[in-house]
């Protein structure tokens, strides 16, 4: 089942990208992503997971779908040269049988 169907069934909450600024004077840096139902929840989850509750840290959360990306040195014709999504569209992957277990 792909992610769109998963979300439609209410099974997967939307994906958010997390940006963290550890210290005044530095930039916000992308640290990863997480799932949350809304911005409030995403912020809380991000604070718990990516800053270990450090209150001094500034956090931005953005729905992954809202990010407009251009990465010209990451080369794939699937992506438009500018103004496209951060990641590939989630799809269903059939793992070939000969790919080994961990």
């Amino acid at each position: 089942m792909n992610a769109d169907a998963g979300r439609a069934a209410g099974r997967t909450l939307p994906l958010w990208e997390v940006f963290v600024r550890g210290k005044r004077g530095l930039n916000h840096v992308h640290v990863g992503s997480l799932h949350a139902a809304d911005g409030e929840m995403a912020l809380r989850n991000a604070r718990d997971l990516y800053t270990r509750r450090n209150e001094g840290v500034s956090i931005w959360v953005v729905p992954s779908a809202a990010i407009v990306a251009s990465s010209p040195d990451e080369k794939d014709p699937f992506f438009a040269p500018s103004g496209d999504k951060v990641y590939r569209h989630p799809t269903f992957y059939d793992i070939p049988g000969h790919v080994p277990h961990m």
Partner: protein
Amino acid sequence: MTATAAEAGLAGQFERTIARDARIEPRDWMPEKFRATMIRQIAQHAHSEIIGMQPEGNWITRAPSLRRKAILLAKVQDEAGHGLYLYSACETLGADRGDLTERLISGRQKYSSIFNYPALTFADVGVIGWLVDGAAICNQVPLCRCSYGPYARAMIRICKEESFHQRQGYELLMTMMSGTAGQRAMVQDAVDRWWWPSLMMFGPPDAQSANTAQSMAWKIKRHSNDELRQRFVDMTVPQAEALGVTLPDPGLRWNAERGAYDFGEVAWAEMKQVVAGNGPCNAERVARRKAAHEAGGWVRDAAAAHAAKQAARQETRAVS
């Protein structure tokens, strides 16, 4: 340019990126098999962190001192966090966490077999920290230089946290080994049960590891199974001596010519059984994860429903 020529060009770029030890990033072209391999490897690593919460998690409520309870709770919490970092890395390849969870609980994707062994005493908590996290660190430090960027970055963060875990496990064992006779016996018993499974964490011997070559070529895997296993033994034997425990291997001895420890044959047949699903705890580990996921369905649905309602309310307010 024809489609084949274009694809050949992209494949060439992919190969050159790998060859110069640079990172493949999410929007790069990559062979389908590379993507599939990465998804499977990262997902199974993530599943391992989550399942790995269980054997130690079972001892949180029974920890015999408040300090140990706090340390163990923090460690298990870290493991949940590691799972989250890894699922996040996996999603950059187009996977979906809900789908990956389904694959875990239906048995289509696996996790590290070490967690199919039972944690039977509180000493197991220390031994798991010392040996299992120790073996994991041996596996994981090289992954910090893995060719796929998001995975390598997640591994850097994870490795930093796991070094603390291993030290806390070892420190518990040191305390117990200088304690009562009962504590010392508990530690030795735990070592006797966890030593060989820890060696199995490095996978089958190189001669039987069919796909190592491709993973090495793609710089996903940077050292062979046997190489890492040997490294782990060499690092761990002196630690066991310092602790005052014996490792359950009569074949273990220093080989001056090789500059390494000779050790006995791993029971590969047992490993196969455990990997195939017949280990002591396979069923329970998956069942617990499945139960939590299913029991949580109505909660996740509620969160999604509330978010949708809030969004609709905001729109109504904006319009009116």
